[in-house]
Symmetry: C2
Subunit: 590 residues, 2 copies
């Protein structure tokens, strides 16, 4: 058998010519290249290492791109990208950044969607299948979804609808016995039972939902996978193929600690130790750490305090040790944001003090629950927003600058934007103590900043702006993580003899009208927020001051799905550097 030259794999046609031994060798080569890239570049380690064989088998059996495969979350598609014309991005360090970490239609016709949120693949694929049926097509439609993503409501909705298609519809359930952390939910007992019975148990979630069902116990064995996929190719009804795979396969440390190696930065291939520039103990403090430490303290002070996550405990700073320390006061509902919000509502109604932590981009998965079950029903739950910033995640699927516009326009919901870690703690302390209001607290930026001069309050229920510096003519309102830039702009202006009024608004959902009234005869008021301008905080100010002679300038982000942008370039584009803010003020004074 000749050697496999990865650079010769230009498309799935190149692997369809291969024999099983060659494919096996290919899998080994691909896994080796992945390990190499992941160890120096970082990325979704576990999901991709576990799916090498399944992805090869899928492209071997199905006639992609005519046959259509939708990968859920698509964070497991590095092997898919390798096979579909993008090998170089995994073998040549100079090209490592040529591809995104998710499927991306602008990269390849083999990528159907830009996906980064979980659980949607089945419903999307059902749409593709329905379009095929209505147009008399014959192609296979395949959805690939992990066991962790199955707990999201839209996965269930998609499965429920897909079962009624009455035509070719193939759902591959990639069961690696893990979500990002361990799985939570009643369905996982059934998946375990199915694995333990080699798929023969009567108690079968998928059959109960209307699917025929097949099981592959060796989900990293190419022959088993190829045989099974071949057997369902061109099937005439909806089928679930449940494959049992090993997350992190081929990297012993990742096989052993699946949570740690779900996603990782650069690491030592032998030991798995992270290759940080600085030692971990000197790494900048982050809000995950701060949050977890603060919550453990609050839990000890008050047995009614509970922290809740929807499948991302690490974002909340709750690693395994801290989860153990929190005990019953830490709840992971699995990837199920809607249930997380409703659970918090029920807990609050039942007298507890729930605090839910969300990645900014994911909280939008539960808008209806925020609106109906929290805000309308005035349940005093607290929500902490992580990575809600232009300086957070910069993949187009995970942007953190839509949450202000989303949540601050819901009645009865207080949206607080602290400027620094001290204020974050104070606001959270208040939110957890009081039992009358639903509160959102946004972590200020991505790295913890300290500002001991910010005035802390015991009560944040009313919108009261902090007048940090009193000047005249120019008002700078810096919301949350933008406050620091505004403060620097104020310094620059002071150097030019312009003494501005500098304001920390604290609350982005309600206006402090008395404070704003005092600015009505100013020349200009500039607002800055770490979110889109449209629908955000600054536009409330512009509207309120619309009848006054004062000019209002709203700074913030454009309403766009930016992708892998450069942070400082974006800041400049938005006019949010201290220099630019000062210039904007000077122009308005002319």
């Amino acid at each position: 058998m000749k050697d496999i030259d990865l650079s010769e794999i230009k498309s799935p046609a190149d692997i369809r010519k291969m024999s099983l031994p060659e494919l096996t060798k290919l899998a080994g080569e691909m896994r080796g290249a992945l390990l190499e890239k992941l160890s120096v570049h970082g990325g979704h380690v576990g999901p991709n290492l576990g799916m090498v064989e399944a992805v090869i088998a899928l492209h071997y059996v199905f006639d992609t791109p005519e046959d259509k495969i939708v990968f859920d979350v698509s964070h497991q598609t590095y092997p898919h990208k390798m096979i579909t014309g993008r090998m170089e991005a995994f073998t040549d360090p100079a090209h490592y950044d040529d591809v995104t970490g998710y499927t991306n239609p602008s990269e390849s016709p083999y990528d159907l969607y830009s996906l980064g949120h979980t659980s949607s693949a089945v419903a999307l694929a059902a749409g593709l299948a329905k379009a095929r049926d209505l147009q008399g097509g014959k192609e296979n439609v395949v959805a690939v979804i992990g066991d962790g993503s199955l707990s999201g409501g839209v996965a269930f909705e998609g499965l429920d609808y897909g079962a009624t298609l009455g035509s070719n519809f193939i759902v591959i359930v990639n069961d690696n016995q893990m979500s990002i952390a361990e799985n939570h939910g009643g369905i996982y007992a059934d998946l375990r039972l199915l694995r333990n019975t080699n798929g023969t148990a009567d108690n079968n979630l998928f059959r109960a939902m209307g699917y025929s069902y097949r099981y592959v116990n060796y989900g990293n064995d190419l022959k088993s996978l190829i045989d099974m996929f071949s057997s369902v190719k061109d099937i005439d009804h909806p089928v679930v193929v449940h494959i049992n795979t090993m997350k992190g396969m081929g990297l012993p440390v990742a096989e052993a600690d699946k949570e740690e190696f779900h996603y990782a930065g650069p690491f030592d291939l032998k030991t798995g130790a992270p290759l940080h520039e600085e030692a971990p103990q000197t790494a900048p403090e982050d809000y995950s750490e701060l949050f977890a430490k603060g919550m453990l303290r609050r839990m000890k002070e008050n047995g009614k305090v509970v922290a809740i996550t929807a499948g991302t405990p690490g974002v909340l700073g709750f690693d395994k040790a801290r989860r153990k320390e929190a005990g019953k006061q830490f709840i992971d509902v699995g990837i199920a944001e809607q249930a997380a919000v409703d659970l918090a509502s029920g807990l609050a109604k039942g007298g507890m003090r729930p605090v839910v932590g969300f990645v900014s981009s994911f909280l939008q998965r539960a808008y209806d629950q925020f609106s109906q079950d929290i805000a309308l029903n005035k349940q005093a739950a607290t929500f902490v927003v992580f990575y809600g910033s232009m300086f957070g995640m910069n993949d187009e699927t995970h942007l953190g600058f839509f949450d202000i516009a989303l949540l601050s326009n819901i009645p009865n919901l207080i949206y607080l934007a602290p400027t620094c870690k001290e204020e974050f703690e104070a606001m959270l302390d208040w939110a957890v103590k009081q039992d009358e209001r639903a509160v959102v607290v946004r972590t200020p930026g991505s790295v913890a900043v300290s500002n001991t001069e910010i005035e802390l309050l015991d009560d944040y229920s009313k919108p009261t702006y902090e007048i940090v510096r009193e000047g005249d003519g120019v008002g700078l309102i810096g919301a949350g993580s933008m406050f620091g830039f505004m403060q620097q702009a104020a310094d620059l202006l002071a150097q030019q003899g312009v003494n501005v009024t500098l304001i920390n608004p604290r609350n982005l959902s309600e206006l402090d009208t008395a404070a704003l009234d005092s600015l009505k005869d100013y020349k200009v008021v500039i607002t800055a927020e770490d979110g889109i301008i449209d629908g955000g905080y600054g536009q409330k100010v512009a509207s309120y001051l619309g009848e006054s002679p004062v000019k209002v300038v709203n700074l913030g982000l454009p309403k766009e799905f930016l992708n892998r942008y450069n942070y400082s370039e974006l800041q400049k584009r938005c006019g949010l550097t201290p220099d630019q803010i000062a210039q904007t003020a000077m122009s308005a004074l002319k």
Copy 2:
């Protein structure tokens, strides 16, 4: 046995003293009172008639309000209200409007939540159960959910989490074999199988999710229900009790046509005929009718056009006859808004022209899918918003004035607000023809208005404002259903010698900056929209014109959960009558 005097039923304690024959008589009396009220007052006919016995049995067996019952959607709680101190509202016409149509904590301690959206009860109840467990309580926690609501993703998320509680948690699945219309989804085959096997089939969705399971075939038989509920009272683990009930029981026309009598206005008790003031053929045309007729035409013109609903075909004007006429081009995914949006995304990707119709208040259940799977992925699906207006539904759970702020701030999504039925048709025609953009079209108000003078376009892709009347000094921008009031205000102002510029903005998601630039030296620009001011269209205008000397006044609704408000009082409160608008303009000119 003595007669039952309904007025003596003040609380569940009064029914717990009764014998089975007395309870049976009570059920009959209650059903009679319900029929009487429903026939003259209207309301959710089918759901309530079907649940009389189950609600009596629940309150008979469980020690409410210490034991907690969360009713999903809570549109089936008229019998519950009768038993829990609010009988008069069902027996005395003078008090018919004393209670809302949903559970309402401000009415009674027996009502835990104000609920009107489906599928959340299980997750909410799971929170109550968890709060109990963490505090060492002993009460029963019961969620009551209908088969129709089961298809919503949050129901599944709640069931999945609830199964892990390991403690008392009772889910009553009220299976009346109907959603609002017929059910759609793979799970319904399993529910049917369970009914047909008296609950004994191996293929059991609820067991597969981790619940123990009981079945009551005669779900309108008090003894069966009482025996079953007694057997699960104080159970120490999660259990599903599946009860087979008859929707509309006791009203033959409702039993026969369950869809028509899910919700009904006043009707003749004998014939079921609606008691309209005017004959149906002279009733005002509504957008449901217009939409369905227009869509059937588009479907015939183009086989790729598909209409999609998430369980509310009637809202889209697709009654049974029209569904039959549309054939495969009409899709009901069941109550599963997320799947509806993703299905549309898949259909668009597959070359079809999908159009999804949503009640304004329900589209917020799929925000993440709008954002990620439609807008980010630029799929050319069309969404039509019904009842998106202050003149639509006025229950606090069904308000129609949040959708502009919600959807118009999503990138890549064009939000169109037609002013009249002619423009609605033109915009929808364009949206369905083009295949490059995702488009939202809002029905203008609740009753179809005609305006043959509005300029119609072939292409609405770019934001171009219609300058309906050119004046000077005062600009009135009337969005969608508010345009008519603005036009009347313009007339009033003309009578006072003030010739204003009157604008129909058409597009609420992007600004026509050229049109706005021409207003910069005006005295005042007034915007009016049929939605909350916060995060809405007017604030974009205020922000854009913030640096210009022109005053901007934004008219619209307050950010509040209003409940059963009076339409014209609210219009006045918002300053949205033509008189008030004219006065606002005159004041600004002074």
